[in-house]
Subunit: 306 residues, 5 copies
């Protein structure tokens, strides 16, 4: 079974209130590659994994590295938490838009029933001049009740302040592990739809991994083995509906894979990518170089104007 072309979606911007539209347009058209695409630089790994991610490129331990990279290379926005937003972003205000991530957690304790607690709120985002708020949703976690209530508060504040809402939609927890795992087509397709239904303007997804052995544990029709990875991407983009989709890179991969998945997501109707370690674990000139390649590829692959 296949989805040949992504479902044609009406312009997202047309459905947004003036505040959200004003801010999101900055990311889509005024900064980054432009033409309605999104290229985000995330620097939340110090919370989610700890400083160990900075060792491959010692310069990356200083947040200045990522902020200056984002501004110099022309990202659509940089995504970080309150500490960096307060102490490092001010020097770059106006040079690169800010996505304030509102929740986060360390990976120290086991995550059978994870919840990412909010350490900041939408009013902080407004105060800091952010153009979007970010929220990590652990789709399918046994603590989904706390998660969805918390997200509901964030979503309402976003509506109240006209702040675009970007949801990091991550399948996680013991129950997902039993149904194909966090990277399965089933899990990520569900995540895409749930984030959209909860009011996300942009959904951040990880790349699905088709694994026939694991997929057998997913519910039908995901368990029947007839899907390619391209099918899966198209489906997930369609599941997010009018919400824009950005694909994340995860840990560092080789350049070809990185560029391939960039092209896939844009051709499938996605709006862009969010690459952290894949970019800032390189030294400065190498980072600028790969970003330039990504931006060019994005503009030549873009299929949807939001």
């Amino acid at each position: 079974m296949e989805v040949k072309t992504a479902i044609e979606q009406k312009s997202l911007l047309a459905t947004l209130t003036p505040g959200k539209r004003t801010r999101l347009r900055r990311l889509l058209f005024e900064f980054g590659p432009g033409q309605g695409t999104l290229l985000f630089l995330p620097i939340d790994q110090g919370i989610e994994h700890g400083p160990r991610d900075f060792f491959p490129n010692p310069a990356s331990k200083d947040p200045e590295y990522q902020f200056s990279l984002a501004a110099e290379a022309g990202y659509s926005a940089i995504a970080c938490e309150i500490g960096l937003a307060s102490k490092y972003y001010p020097d770059y205000a106006g040079q690169v838009p800010l996505i304030l991530k509102l929740n986060g957690r360390t990976d120290v304790p086991p995550a059978e029933a994870p919840l990412s607690p909010c350490n900041a709120n939408v009013e902080d985002a407004v105060r800091l001049g952010a153009d979007a708020a970010g929220y990590t949703l652990y789709v399918g976690s046994p603590r989904q009740d706390d998660d969805l209530i918390q997200l509901g508060h964030v979503r309402r504040d976003c509506d109240r302040f006209g702040m675009p809402l970007i949801v990091w939609a991550y399948p996680r927890g013991s129950a997902i592990d039993k149904k194909g795992g966090r990277d399965s087509f089933y899990a990520i397709d569900y995540a895409a739809r749930l984030a959209m239904e909860m009011g996300a303007d942009v959904v951040k997804l990880n790349m699905e991994k088709i694994d026939p052995e694991k997929d057998k544990d997913s519910p039908a029709p995901y368990n029947d083995g007839g899907f390619t990875q391209e099918d899966a991407i198209r489906h997930c983009v369609a599941s997010a509906g009018r919400s824009l989709v950005v694909l994340s890179g995860g840990s560092k991969v080789d350049d070809e894979t990185l560029l391939d998945q960039t092209r896939f997501i844009l051709e499938a109707g996605g709006s862009g990518v969010i690459y952290g370690r894949n970019v800032w674990q390189r030294e400065h000139s190498a980072a600028l170089e790969i970003i330039e390649q990504i931006k060019e590829l994005m503009l030549s692959s873009v299929t949807r104007i939001p």
Copy 2:
């Protein structure tokens, strides 16, 4: 033992405040089949089950499909959550009334003690121009304390804003499973009464399944085997008292069953049906056709004017 005719109930509308009456009249008389009946189209399966429900009819993955169907076929209202209500409903505002469902959950983790957390509130419903708010209550769940407190907040806001309250009354959880199960006459009769007692204006119930083997585990008199399914429907409608009852269809059944249960519920004094997958898992013209049949049958079977 039997209940030959449903208990004659005084007009519900006569007991409602002006705000609730204004809104509920729209659903009962101005839209849908009319004559005091209710025909709802639910599109919350993307949250409750994930996108897997859309595969039988790929067009159904795009929420436009359900919204245009609801408007074109003349439903009493469409029921969805905040994401769809924000991004898809605006194009149909005024063409079909909106029921904003305030809570929801994925079916990924096991549900021995389920709770459906609120991701939106009644003020969102007011802001979006909804004519009713929807709430899923898991009757008999070990977490009923959190559930009833949460519902209490929703109910008070509905009273404050004059917003009709529709309760999806679902018996669920490990304790219900030990007493006959979620579809037993005992469980659904209890659900009908509880929802009414908690302040529902409309109660959404699933069709009971008489199963003598399972019913033995229910308390007396439900365990004595003397009830037909028609008895059960009449009892449940009576248990809901002045609150209107709509029956849901659940997963797709054959047309005859669908039409039979539609007639049963209306003859028993119920006010209508809420059919999702049974309708939108059909292609467009087939969907329109069955809706037309349902509407005609409803009008010819209606026994109660609220």
Copy 3:
């Protein structure tokens, strides 16, 4: 050991604020048997047990039955939850006072650590014209911390709005079961005192059952076997101090037992009874008849003017 006569208590009304006094006087003197007595009709069984309680008298399933009975027979008040109070009480406003019960739970899940969650608040009671608010306290439940905090909020609102507070004081949970059980003299004596100490104006108790075998597990002096049931009633009334005591009937008993316990409680200094199933599980004329007997007996047995 015995308590020959109930401790002489000062008038409760004299200690109350004007709002509470105004409302409670209506129940004690203007409605019901009068002369400072209380005769309550509870109709919360649909929540606490489900519709199964209505089968013995099918007419009782329609709340109209209890409301009209309460008004026609001249009860001091009818006690129900928000749904019935909103949809059925309005027709009887001014004909019989309303006690709005604020919390309730189904008996579906096991109750080793029960908590009865609030689904309404005192402001609802004010809005609906109620003359008292009702709260179920599970004395000795392992969740007493949540229970007492919740009751504290209700009590403060009652003080703020001048609303009399009636506490259904029920010993419950695994710990009580190990100390003689929910009906033991120990448990009910404790319940009477706790409710009074928490600010109840009226305490609703179940009749104690003296059971030497079970009482051995109660702490001294309750475990020494020297108490009659009359002793126990007198003690419990004394433990409630200035708070008025009403005795409940529980499931249906024979008329002699019913009238005996009515007399006992009033002779012991209690203020009345709360009879639900014992009354409305009878057909209409039989119900009116027993109520008349109860009222006469109350007036001839009354020993305390509050």
Copy 4:
């Protein structure tokens, strides 16, 4: 190791805001024995233990007994919960100061991780004309997080309203039991300090019991066996610093023990005693007699003027 004399503390009153100073002076100088001492009558046993404590002296079941005793014998204050404060204290307003205890719990469930939930707040205390608020802190309970947060709210309200805060500092729970037990010098010394650090103006402690066998489980230096009970009292008073210390009596002891511990605490720099059952489990004239003895002894033993 010994603490020969209690650390000389600066006047507590000098550190207090006008509201706290005004109210606390009433207890220390205007009522009770005077000269900066404190003699409290607690009547919260009906909550903490149930009515069983009233059997030794049946008259004591009527709260009038304790209120009239407190007023007639000239206590510094009577300590009770909201029910008694609302229904019995008004007759004695102005005759004996009131300490409103804000939290309490039954002893029905096991107490491995106890928490005493608040059923009233400081605003209630203000409204009722109380001169202090009381709070029970379970030092070392596994639920200390909820306890300290709850106490923090009470403490802030006391600061806001100028209401003196009296902390019943009770070591409790499974962890304390493993380190020498609730009556150990270690546990009570810790309790004294913690209560002071949390903002108590007066700390209520139980008398330590030196038990070399149990003390071995306490941390150093409490486990080395070199302490007398007099050492322990002095240490605990010193640990409470500028906060005043009152010693409780617990269950009834013989008169000699009672008077001895009264003298000990005052000689050690404590400010007084809180005797409930030791007093009101006696009949009226015997109670007055022992109170007179206690008051005289207090005035002749007092070593600290706050």
Copy 5:
């Protein structure tokens, strides 16, 4: 692998709002050793460990000892909880700045999933004239969700009131124990970064202990054994970025170790030390003497002006 020199950080003060800058400058330049260094005296051991820490120097049990020492010896600030701040600090107001610690817990119960509950808030700090608020974060605790939410509230209040935020960043709990333990380089490096990311202006860390055996359980690259303690300190200071770092002493060590670690931290770009028991467990003149040595060493080792 090594970090030869600490990453050059821009002035912290330049990034702060006027309120935070005003207050933090007092600690850095007007009190204590000056020249942008920090020397804190903590007196929260009475809560965290109980009075047992005061036995080595009995005079230290009276908080006057620490307050007068802090003022006389010229500390940058004294850190304590609400009780001491209310009852002892007023005499020293203006003589030594105050850090109000907002949370704390006893060490009585086991700490597999620790949380330090707030007993005071930032408004208390403002009211008491404090120049900073202190918060203990248990990095990696299974209860990190409650912890980070609580810290988020404190951080927002600090932003609102212009109050500098000092985070005691302590790796703790069962999960950390399995990954090298609370003193491992991995754990403390993570703690430094997390505190900075959560908005700390100053981060308080414990000295790492390199232990090849335990470090094997840490994630790469911390598990490869190639780090010296000097490397570790430099890394942790770098991980805290623009947030200032102070190193704590823990239990009493010999003078040489104490002075060595003071020098290490300042040479590594840290801003100072927080020494409690190492100072006030000495008698008065010895304490003054070691403080003088520490201050001189700090000024001669300082490498960073914030």
